[in-house]
């Protein structure tokens, strides 16, 4: 079976864009990806896309052109982008089509996400009494983890400081001003132990990727990248998930562990093969826990890795090189694809001031979201 290449990438800057709908940002990203691959919309044979709160992706054909292609809307929470990408991958791998697009975009109102108990299959009282907040889950998960593995608040702040530093070198990021560790630690406590600057915020943005059968890639680009692994998993018994009125006493692994293992197996690669990674950092604690859930270190080793600066741009294993969710915000439908976009930029050697040195050849992405889903990818040169 044929490999799958990524030949075009496009982005609409993340943050807040007044006067532009999420869908229009999606169209912007799609056009940028087409231009990057030096192709026309009429060359695209199929598309998958979605948003969580900004409408149906297939409405983009009104702007891109009525070519009659199958354009499938994807709705899978925080894994919407990852699911679109995986679907596009599978479609090409199966031989059904040769060239397609995966696109994700979103535009959320300010402030924490509103939760709807019924939509999550939960009783009304759970939301009415103030227990159904994503921020609480993040605070409680890292609180326990810090207790078990000796992670300090100082390290939580280092993660956020790194995010803003990296974003200051990324013209497409939202929050591009560096923020000092002390400012982060002393900012308003949102959900203990996490402060305001340690959290990402709902935001806006869009990313589009064009994929094709590997044999065709050199027709469109001199530097194709290859999607070697992509896997998606939902939660196993005993995982600790957002919006859980109760948890199993006997603890189990997170869905990340399964998605990560499956991705490495598919790519026939090991963790040591990976040069840099984008890991879901809804808040500082998530990046720390996801370092080990994805198998890049053992539980507790993050403390030293962070204190030594190993995950900085010039460290041994750079993580969230574009500023991650913390500095880019979280447009749910676009976030997962932003990670892949950043990896493509890095592997092309086109990341400018935030370029990871040493000519990186392999890069990893990981998204995680409600109600316990995770999707990972491995891309190589």
């Amino acid at each position: 079976m044929s490999d799958v290449a990524i030949i075009g990438i496009g982005i609409h800057p993340f943050g807040r864009t007044e006067g532009m709908t999420g869908l229009q940002q999606g169209v912007h990203a799609a056009r940028e990806a087409l231009s990057d691959a030096e192709m026309e919309w009429s060359d695209i044979q199929f598309a998958f896309g979605g948003s969580a709160a900004a409408g149906s992706a297939d409405a983009m054909v009104n702007d891109l052109g009525l070519t009659g292609i199958p354009f499938m809307n994807v709705s899978n929470g925080c894994a919407t982008g990852g699911s679109s990408l995986l679907s596009a991958y599978t479609t090409i791998k199966s031989g059904q089509f040769d060239i397609g697009m995966a696109v994700g975009f979103d535009k959320h109102p300010r402030g924490a996400f509103n939760a709807d108990p019924e939509a999550s299959g939960l009783p009304r009282w759970y939301g009415e009494t103030g227990l159904m907040l994503t921020t609480q889950f993040f605070g409680m998960k890292i609180q326990r983890y810090m207790n078990d593995y000796g992670i300090t608040s100082d390290s939580l702040a280092l993660v956020a400081e790194k995010a803003f530093n990296n974003a200051s070198l990324n013209p497409n990021a939202w929050r591009r001003e560096p923020v000092s560790k002390d400012t982060i630690l002393n900012s308003m406590m949102v959900s203990d132990p996490l402060t305001k600057y340690m959290f990402c915020s709902p935001a806006e943005g869009a990313v589009a990727l064009i994929l094709c059968k590997a044999e065709l890639a050199h027709k469109y680009t001199s530097k194709p990248l290859f999607l070697k692994g992509a896997a998606f998993r939902s939660r196993p018994l005993g995982s600790f998930e957002v919006f859980s009125p109760s948890l199993e006493v006997e603890r189990g692994p997170s869905p990340t562990v399964g998605a990560s293992d499956a991705t490495f197996e598919m790519a026939s690669m090991t963790r040591e093969d990976i040069d840099l990674a984008q890991l879901q950092d809804t808040e500082s604690g998530a990046e720390i826990m996801h370092m080990s859930e994805n198998g890049f270190c053992k539980d507790g080793e993050q403390e030293k890795l962070l204190q030594d600066g190993d995950t900085k741009l010039d460290g041994k294993f750079p993580v969230n090189t574009d500023g991650g969710c913390i500095a880019n915000g979280e447009p749910v439908g676009a976030s997962g694809l932003r990670q892949v976009y950043e990896n493509c930029v890095q592997l092309r050697g086109a990341a400018g001031k935030r370029q990871v040195q040493g000519n990186p050849k392999t890069a990893y992405t990981h998204v995680y979201g409600a109600p316990g889903i995770s999707a990972c990818t491995i891309i190589t040169t």
Binding site: E128, T129, L131, Q136, M140
Partner: protein
């Protein structure tokens, strides 16, 4: 007492001197569920009143809908939330009352309490469960 009622049915035994949360147990797997699940294989169980704090956080801003607490943004007071491990049964998410956030410690002994949460349109007090540090 007549103008008080639980915020939801089948959530806890009430009124009672020793109220208990109502869960269910899958008779085939032995797993506990809270809130109780309606199924042919589930039997209703009264959960332990006491357990240990497994993790916690503090809700520092006033939640948006569907929150029905009576506070205004001006007088909102942060409240603690945590999971209580009921030994051998299940971990239950709950508000933590009667304790300052600075005094919360993973592993501390906690006990169930039923208290008024908010009044509904008919003037009835809706009763909600929480956990408090055990009185020694």
């Amino acid at each position: 007492m007549s103008n008080q009622k639980p915020i939801a049915e089948n959530l806890f035994t009430w009124p009672s001197d020793q109220p208990k949360l109502l869960g269910s147990r899958d008779t085939e797997t032995g797993r506990y569920f809270f809130p109780a699940k309606k199924s042919n294989t589930h039997e209703q169980v009264e959960l332990s009143r006491k357990g240990k704090l497994w993790t916690w956080t503090v809700q520092r801003f006033m939640p948006k809908t569907p929150y029905i607490g009576a506070e205004n943004p001006e007088d909102f007071k942060p409240y603690a939330v945590g999971y209580i491990e009921l030994p051998g049964e299940i971990m239950v998410e709950s508000r933590l009352e009667g304790v300052d956030p600075e005094d919360l410690k993973i592993g501390m002994e906690m006990e169930l309490s039923i208290d008024p949460f908010v009044k509904n349109e008919d003037g009835e007090e809706l009763m909600m469960f929480s956990f408090r540090p055990c009185k020694n």
